[in-house]
C-alpha cells in the first residue's frame, strides 16, 4: 500500500509562495501546479494546488508534516497516521 498524503486545501492556500513541504522532502514527493491555465492570463496564487505525486518514494519521515506552518498535511500508511 502506498502512503497517502492528505492535504487540506482550505489550510494550504498559497502553496507556491510557501513551498516548505516541496523543498524539505528528501524524496521530492510533492508537486505544485496551477489548477487551470488560461490563454493571456497568469494563474492566481490561490489557484495553485500541492499534490503528493511520487507517493511510492515516500519514506514516511514526516518532515513535511512537521514543517507545514498551517498543519495542512497528514501522512497515512495502511489506514493509520
Amino acid at each position: 500500500m502506498l502512503p497517502v498524503v492528505e492535504i487540506d486545501k482550505k489550510k494550504c492556500s498559497t502553496p507556491f509562495e510557501c513551498k516548505k513541504c516541496l523543498q524539505i522532502c528528501p524524496q521530492a514527493v510533492f508537486a505544485v501546479a496551477p489548477t487551470k491555465v488560461e490563454r493571456f492570463k497568469e494563474t492566481d496564487p490561490e489557484n495553485y494546488e500541492v499534490q503528493a505525486v511520487f507517493r511510492n518514494k515516500c519514506v514516511v519521515c514526516m518532515d513535511c508534516v512537521k514543517t507545514c506552518p498551517t498543519a495542512a498535511l497528514r501522512v497515512i500508511v495502511g489506514g493509520y497516521d
Binding site: M1, L2, P15, F16, K19, L22, Q23, Q27, A28, F30, A31, V32, A33, P34, T35, K36, V37, E38, R39, F40, K41, E42, T43, Q51, V53, F54, R55, N56, K57
Partner: protein, 276 residues
C-alpha cells in the same frame, strides 16, 4: 539502429536534421479541438503526466497496462539525452533561441528561476517562442532571446555545473527545446529511472568510457553521475562506468581533472547500439 534517426534523420541523428526544427508557422485551427482540455492539461506541467500513473501503483496489473500506454506516446512527446557537442550543433540550426524557466523545477521544487533564486536554465527553440505572451502562466517572468554564441555559453555553463542536456520534441519530430536537467526534479529522468517509462528519455548517441591509464581515482565523476552508472571501484582504486547504464550525457567528461573520460559513439559497441 535508432528508430527516430531512420524515420526523421535519414540515418543521421534525428535532432541534427534541420527539417525537425521547421514546425509550420501557421496551422489550421480546428475550432472544436482548440477547446479540448488536453492543451491546457499539458500546460499545467508534468504533474498531469505522472500522477495518474503512480496512483495506479497499488494495482500492479493496471499499472503495467498504463505504462504500456505511455510507451506508445512517442508520437506526442519524446526526449533524448545529448552531448554538449551535439547540443551546440543544435543551437546552430535552431532559430530563434530563448532562455525559459524549467517547468519541472517549478513544479517539483517550486522555484521560479526568476533570476533571484535561479536563472532560467532551459532553452526554448523555434518560432513558437515568438508567441510566448499567449501563455503567461507557462512563461512566467518572460523569455530572453539569445544569439547562437550566447546559447552555447549557456549550455556550457550549466553542463559544467552538472546538468544533463536533454532535448524534447513536442509533436515528434519537432524539437521544442533543450533542457538542462537534474534528478530528482526532472520528470523525464525520473520517469525513466524510477518507473522505467522509456520514450520520455532515450539514451544518447554516445557512451562515456574511462581510460584506466589516465584515471587517478579521485571519484569526481562518480559524484556527478545522475544515472547511477559510475562508481568508485575499491578494488582497482579507479572509477568504473557501467556502459549499459550510461546515458552518454557527458557530465563526467567535463568534471574529470585528468581528461580520462571520452564519449564514444554507441554504434561502435554491438551490444549497445540497440540500447536506447
Amino acid at each position: 539502429m535508432c528508430e527516430l534517426c531512420e524515420k526523421y534523420g535519414e540515418g543521421n541523428p534525428w535532432y541534427l536534421n534541420p527539417m525537425n526544427y521547421a514546425r509550420p508557422l501557421y496551422r489550421k485551427i480546428e475550432k472544436d479541438k482548440e477547446k479540448e482540455p488536453m492543451i491546457l492539461e499539458e500546460l499545467r506541467g508534468p504533474i498531469n503526466i505522472i500522477k495518474p500513473l503512480i496512483d495506479l501503483m497499488d494495482n500492479p496489473e493496471a499499472f503495467k497496462k498504463a505504462k504500456e500506454q505511455f510507451s506508445k506516446h512517442q508520437e506526442r512527446m519524446v526526449g533524448q539525452v545529448v552531448s554538449l557537442e551535439d547540443a551546440k550543433k543544435m543551437v546552430e540550426i535552431a532559430q530563434p533561441i530563448t532562455k525559459i524557466d524549467c517547468i519541472c523545477r517549478r513544479t517539483f521544487r517550486a522555484t521560479l528561476e526568476d533570476g533571484v533564486q535561479r536563472p532560467r536554465s532551459c532553452l526554448g527553440l523555434g518560432i513558437g517562442m515568438f508567441r510566448w505572451e499567449e501563455w503567461p502562466e507557462r512563461y512566467k517572468g518572460g523569455v530572453e532571446f539569445l544569439s547562437t554564441e550566447e546559447a552555447k555559453k549557456h549550455l556550457e555553463h550549466w553542463h559544467k555545473r552538472g546538468m544533463v542536456i536533454t532535448i524534447m520534441a513536442f509533436g515528434t519530430p519537432y524539437i521544442g527545446g533543450i533542457c538542462l536537467c537534474d534528478y530528482p526534479d526532472c520528470i523525464a529522468i525520473r520517469m525513466r529511472l524510477d518507473y522505467n517509462v522509456i520514450p520520455f528519455l532515450l539514451k544518447g548517441h554516445q557512451v562515456a568510457k574511462i581510460d584506466y591509464e589516465e584515471c587517478i581515482g579521485c571519484g569526481s565523476c562518480a559524484q556527478r553521475c545522475q544515472f547511477g552508472a559510475v562508481k568508485m571501484e575499491v578494488t582497482t582504486n579507479k572509477s568504473n562506468i557501467d556502459l549499459t547504464r550510461c546515458f552518454g550525457c557527458g557530465v563526467c567528461v567535463y568534471t574529470c581533472p585528468q581528461d580520462a573520460i571520452r564519449l564514444i559513439d554507441r554504434k561502435r559497441f554491438s551490444t549497445l547500439k540497440e540500447e536506447w
